[in-house]
């Protein structure tokens, strides 16, 4: 029948497989660099014990503050620990914690935000004003205050930064919910007898997700910086742990004569934060519905 052929696509369009993803990423070298850095960080986190030539806390007093060489790619610190190994293991603390923070705050933030948007009324107002209070204070100061109040440790620093990050996701998820709530397909679903919980699970959360994912990726970079900053001022990871922020902190005493001590952990922070920002920017461009499925 002539009618049948009109609209049926000849061949199912490629799904979000590797090929399609590659096609999209190919056009943007910066995204590719970001993705490569992200991948590198992931590999380092997982394979640090294999990749590192020395244990991160192996003291070697005969090789204190040695310059970069073939034995010690990044040189050594004031008690002769290999900085290359410490930077590799530092990825676990610095980036691992950033992942944890972003995941915690994304999950909590988007659930609270969607609920707030769906429930509306007094509950919504109360939640949003509370979030405004959090947003009114500078994030780093608030994180510092929280971390200091909880006591200096890596876990508490993580908790503090996660709390500070939540409001951004709440606002984002709520905004998405409000705009999605009035879409025709949500109305259509209601006209077919869907319950509010179903609407939230099935229609609102999945469609609100892509801006949230973008925000989360963009936040990874900033979170690495914040976590490193807390450790730098001594509120995060404590000395024996290898963490980039605290390494920069102890290295700054030797900056004038032993440049490598601060430089390499600092570069690690710079490169990983930049990598995640590039990746986030790229993802935003790809997931932006206004650009269509290019």
């Amino acid at each position: 029948m002539a009618v049948d052929g009109i609209a049926a696509p000849r061949r199912a369009a490629p799904r979000l497989g590797i090929g399609r993803l590659w096609y999209r990423v190919k056009g943007s070298p910066l995204t590719l660099i970001g993705a490569a850095i992200g991948l590198l960080v992931l590999i380092v986190i997982i394979a640090a014990p294999v990749l590192a030539p020395y244990p991160p806390d192996k003291i070697s007093l005969s090789a204190r503050l040695a310059a970069p060489s073939l034995q010690h790619f990044f040189g050594t610190d004031e008690v002769g620990r290999d900085l290359f190994s410490r930077v590799l293991f530092g990825a676990r603390a610095s980036c691992g914690i950033a992942f944890a923070i972003v995941i915690i705050s994304t999950v909590i933030g988007s659930i609270v935000g969607c609920l707030s948007g769906v429930i509306g009324g007094v509950v919504d107002t109360a939640i949003m004003r509370l979030m405004d209070v959090f947003l009114a204070l500078p994030a780093l100061i608030l994180a510092m205050a929280l971390a200091a109040a909880l006591g200096p440790s890596l876990f508490n620093a993580m908790l503090a930064v996660a709390v500070v990050r939540v409001p951004a996701y709440v606002r984002l998820a709520r905004g998405q919910t409000l705009s999605l709530r009035n879409r025709t397909y949500v109305k259509a679903s209601r006209s077919f007898g869907a319950s509010p919980g179903y609407l939230l699970r099935w229609h609102i959360l999945p469609n609100a997700l892509s801006p949230i994912i973008v925000q989360a990726t963009l936040d990874l970079g900033g979170t690495i910086l914040t976590a490193a900053a807390l450790s730098f001022i001594g509120l995060g990871a404590q000395p024996p742990t290898s963490e980039w922020g605290s390494m920069v902190s102890s290295g700054r005493n030797y900056f004038l004569d032993q440049w490598w001590y601060v430089t390499f952990p600092g570069l690690a922070i710079l490169v990983s934060a930049m990598g995640f920002n590039l990746l986030g920017d790229g993802l935003r461009d790809m997931l932006d519905p206004r650009l269509g499925g290019r």
Partner: protein, 331 residues
Amino acid sequence: MTAADGDSLLEISDLSLEFRTYRGPIKALNGVSLNVRAGEIVGVVGESGCGKSVTMMAATRLLPEGSARITGGGIRLFGSDPMKLSERDLQHVRGRLVSTIFQEPMNALNPTRRIGEQVIEVIRRHQRLDKSAAAGKAASLLRDMLISEPERIMQSYPFELSGGMRQRVLIAMAFSCEPKLIIADEPTTALDVTVQALILSLIKQKARSTGTAVVFISHDMAVVSQLCDRLYVLYAGRVAEAGTTASVLAAPAHPYTRALIRCLPGLAPPKQLLEQIPGTLPDLLDPPAGCLFRARCREANERCVAVPPLAAIEPARRAACWRRIEETQAA
């Protein structure tokens, strides 16, 4: 009035409704009465903003709860007042007893889910069927909509389908729970003309074969005349005229209906400018007194400063126009 029949599915009597805005209440409906009986196709016609969609959305309580307020009259949907139903009962009524086909097929499907999942979900919400039985039913519903390879379409995402295909999927969804009543809110407005005829005939066939009543909302007299058994012509939140399609088209009683029919290209002589209805809808924030069509009516006279009632002018035929009421009384 024939509305007293026992099998009346939807009965709206003298419904008035307003939207609260910062400039004051907009009186969107000013005493609309209409009824739909089992198995018939009823057209609701009028230009944009005259209250067609609002009336039907009010009937299924799909209007935003905070802003719309019913100020008079009542609705009986399957014998109960939808405004008084609990959320649970409302969910049962929607979908199982009455479902809606919306105007924009492009936005009426969730972009992140496959077509099949969405159709199956609606089926399983109201019927006890396992996944594969529901999938079979979805496929046969889609096949009824002249979709040749339903299995493949069910694996697709909405963005892979054209507007006409999506609207057919939505019609299949609307019929999937075998409702007694379907509200089709301008289902062909967003589609191009070639697909329009197909969609209309699909709705009509399916409704006739399942005995489903359809309320067909449209601004297009031509479409309505092909499809509907009875017509309601709405103007500015009031029923201007009601009757069987044939009788209304053959001898439109209300000047507004006559003007709407004159606007049709098919009935006008070729190479002549189509007629327009002069003026626009009255301001519903502050509606003028009397007949609301008065300002645009060629036949208006001093009687029209009073609101004309919707009076029977023939058996099963009503109009709200003083001129016709006088003629009927004189006869």
